[in-house]
Amino acid sequence: MIGMVATSVMRKASDLAQQQRWIVGGVIVVVGLLCVWFFGFQAPADAVSKYRFSGGGDPIQLPTLELPTATTNLILSLLLIAFGIYHLVRGLKNSAVLFGVVAFLLLAIFLTWSIRGASLNMTGLLESTLIRSIPFLLGALSGIMCERSGIINIAIEGMMLTAAFVSVIVGAFTDNLWLGLAAGVVSGALIAGVHAVFSIRFKVDQIISGTVINIFAVGMTNFLNLRWLTVNQELNDSGTFAKVPIPILSQIPVLGTILFNQIVLVYVALLLMFFVNFLLFQTRWGLRTRAVGEHPKAADTLGVDVFKIRYINVIFAGMLAALGGAFLTLGSVGRFDKLMTNGRGFIALAAMIFGNWNPFGAFGASLLFGFMDSLQLKLQILTSVIPSEFLLMAPYLATMVVLAGVVGRVRPPAAEGVPYEKQ
């Protein structure tokens, strides 16, 4: 009896998977056909899309890639259709690959079409992709540290916003960017401390606790912004960190500009990615953290102090998110604007989920979101066909698509969101 039910459930599941495969494959083919028609045949026959890789002043000049718009897009669209048919017939197991290939082809088609008759500085685009992915990366690392120990952190947005505000004010007041950065990080740690006390000591629902912090951060920064910064404009001008080129490495064409000629915070963020990965998977602390996030009771039985591990991880997570927030002000514009994080903390959460709670995976997703972010900026300058408001939606839409595509295939820490009761 139970066996019969089980087989019928399984058959249903496999039917569903097949049905889903057909739908997804079919959609890809249809989209591919639309691309052939619109971006291929409708593109002007003699238009050329130029991808530049070197700036004017670079010592080593790379050739410009000149592609005939219509032909290139026809080829790319046919590749997309072929890929869709392959998925329809054979079925791709790995949804990340499926998603990645489709997204890459669609973006390439769209980009080639957008820059027809013009040229695009690819190095510049990739550099701004990296820079814009840093807040997502730091936010995602914050989420990983928190959630690996079993505490949901929806307050990344609030932590970033607070740190962005504090770092500008302190930076401008003391006229020292490093002090500003330090103050921002401390503010993040304090706010995370509140989240920790609420979630661990008072066992408040962690989503509610995070929402409290977000509302508080929005209210407080808006309040103080109006009260202090609008009357004392000089307090809202901290200046920004200067770029520190790494000798020799920064001379490498393309890669040097992108990776080795950045402000210190970018290097720090990338190093932190390796550090968090090392911490989580190579150290005793990481093992304990993951144990606490998966099965706190078992960890407790073995003598691990669940509360201590969680407190320290949450506070460290707050500092990471704060770095991301300070990056938005001290690292790029040098001033605070109302609600300037604009949902980046929540997008960082999506990056964390997409990366399956692993630092490197989260960085991959951050790069994707950073690319969408910098692409919409570039396109606003390049094309007037698509209203800028729709381009601005890109990172948010990408987040929803990524989540819909990936959730169910990733596995969050088992004890996440459950307050631990010591026996």
Binding site: I215, F223, L226, R227, L349, A350, Y396, P412
Partner: protein, 425 residues
């Protein structure tokens, strides 16, 4: 009998009260919320005082003139809160004087001018009732709808479209049509998150936030220079709706109090009836209490997720429609001061109960209206009420803090809603 089962599921740990009177029950439920509000006001008072420029300039010579500083702080807070109170509840002296003038001369101009302020609190409470119900319905179904603000915008856009595009209808068709459009738009926009949760298992929190940003940008586009809904006024706003779609005002100008308030109160009763007296409502609350248990009881959990989200969104959409048809009569980009975001605090304060939401909405309306006055009279930025709300939620979510401050005894545990179920992986 059905009702008995329903309440036993919604309150699984209800222990028989040791012969407590109904009054003590009410007092017990009210203690924490009232003390939470009170404490939040005190803490916000300190924040207002310590951030005031006059106080900050006195701070360096605190040791020489300590009382000067304390006096300045006291003045700041009293000025601010007096403005808040006057804004929220009106100037009763002026109302009385206006009333006497009306009796004596038959001229009611001054009376209605004085009545504007207190009624303005009810005007602000109206969208709060809808948005608070929207969040509360989500809570009851175990969903956290942070997208109420975006759904409110969707509702306002849809009802504006119906309002200014269709001409020549009698009001009893045009007005309901415009309201319905707002309701549906909100439901559809929220429904997206519901469908994604039901079919793909995506947690609704991130998705509703993303939908907010998308809706705000969409509104910007609609009202932008080349946007399809931009009016001819030369400003980023839609054309004005036809008067046949107006929600009529109850009192003469300048009192802006309109019939939307009664609509909102009607929604309170509807939500109560729907959640506690119908089968679907029972299913929603069961899913909210435990999705796993609901699944084994044979409830189609996915369908309930979509339905709950749709119901929540339709209430949010009505909030937008209501604001547009009753007050603004056209859509602008900065349409709402955050009614949808404040609603989270409001629903928590009202314990997700429709009547609790009504009471909290009246309070929040007064607070919002008073804070606007506080900004203009005492130049305390209106955003301080977000801080107050955060504090209120914090104290309600962690009643131990309030009990510790006021040395209260720990009551028998009651069931709480749970949202932190992870990201649906």
């Amino acid at each position: 009998m059905a009702e008995a089962t329903a309440s036993s599921i919604s309150k699984p740990v209800k222990t028989p009260a040791p012969r407590a009177s109904a009054w003590r029950d009410i007092l017990n439920t009210l203690t924490i919320p009232v003390l939470a509000i009170f404490t939040a006001l005190i803490v916000s008072g300190f924040i207002i005082a310590f951030t005031a420029p006059t106080v900050l300039t006195l701070l360096p010579n605190f040791w020489e003139h300590p009382f000067q500083l304390i006096g300045a702080m006291w003045d700041t807070v009293i000025t601010a809160y007096a403005a808040l109170l006057q804004g929220a509840f009106g100037d009763w002296g002026a109302i009385l004087a206006g009333f006497q003038e009306w009796i004596a001369t038959g001229d009611a101009t001054d009376l209605f001018r004085a009545l504007r302020d207190p009624f303005e609190s009810l005007v602000a409470a109206t969208p709060y009732i809808f948005t608070g119900l929207a969040v509360a319905v989500g809570f009851k179904g175990g969903l956290f709808n942070i997208g109420v603000e975006g759904q409110l915008f969707a509702g306002a856009i849809a009802s504006a479209w119906v309002g200014f595009n269709i001409e020549g209808l009698p009001w009893f068709i045009h007005l309901p049509l415009a309201l319905l459009a707002g309701l549906l738009a909100g439901a559809v926009w929220a429904g997206i998150a519901g469908v994604l949760k039901a079919t793909r298992g995506v947690n609704e929190v991130i998705n509703t936030i993303m939908l907010n940003y998308i809706m705000f940008l969409f509104t910007d586009w609609l009202l932008s220079e080349s946007g399809p809904m931009r009016g001819s006024a030369g400003a980023p706003r839609t054309p004005e709706i036809y008067p046949s779609a107006y929600l009529p005002r109850v009192l003469p100008d300048p009192v802006r109090f309109h019939w939307g308030f009664f609509l909102a109160v009607g929604a309170v009763f509807f939500v109560y009836w729907f959640l506690w007296k119908t089968t679907v409502g029972f299913e929603i609350r069961t899913v909210g209490a435990s999705p796993t248990a609901a699944k084994y009881a044979g409830i189609a959990v996915g369908r309930i997720f979509v339905l709950t989200m749709g119901l929540s969104g339709s209430l949010a959409g009505l909030a937008g429609a209501n604001e547009l048809l009753g007050l603004n009569h056209y859509m602008v980009a900065a349409f709402s001061p955050g009614y949808g975001f404040d609603a989270i605090a409001l629903a928590l304060l009202g314990k997700s109960n429709p009547f609790g939401v009504l009471a909290s909405a009246l309070l929040f309306g007064a607070l919002r209206n008073g804070a606007t006055r506080m900004q203009s009279l005492a130049s305390v930025p209106v955003d301080i009420i977000s801080v107050m709300q955060a504090l209120i939620i914090a104290f309600i979510a962690a009643p131990e803090i309030v009990r510790w401050i006021y040395r209260l005894r720990v009551p028998t545990q009651k069931e709480q809603e749970v949202f932190a179920r992870g990201w649906g992986g």
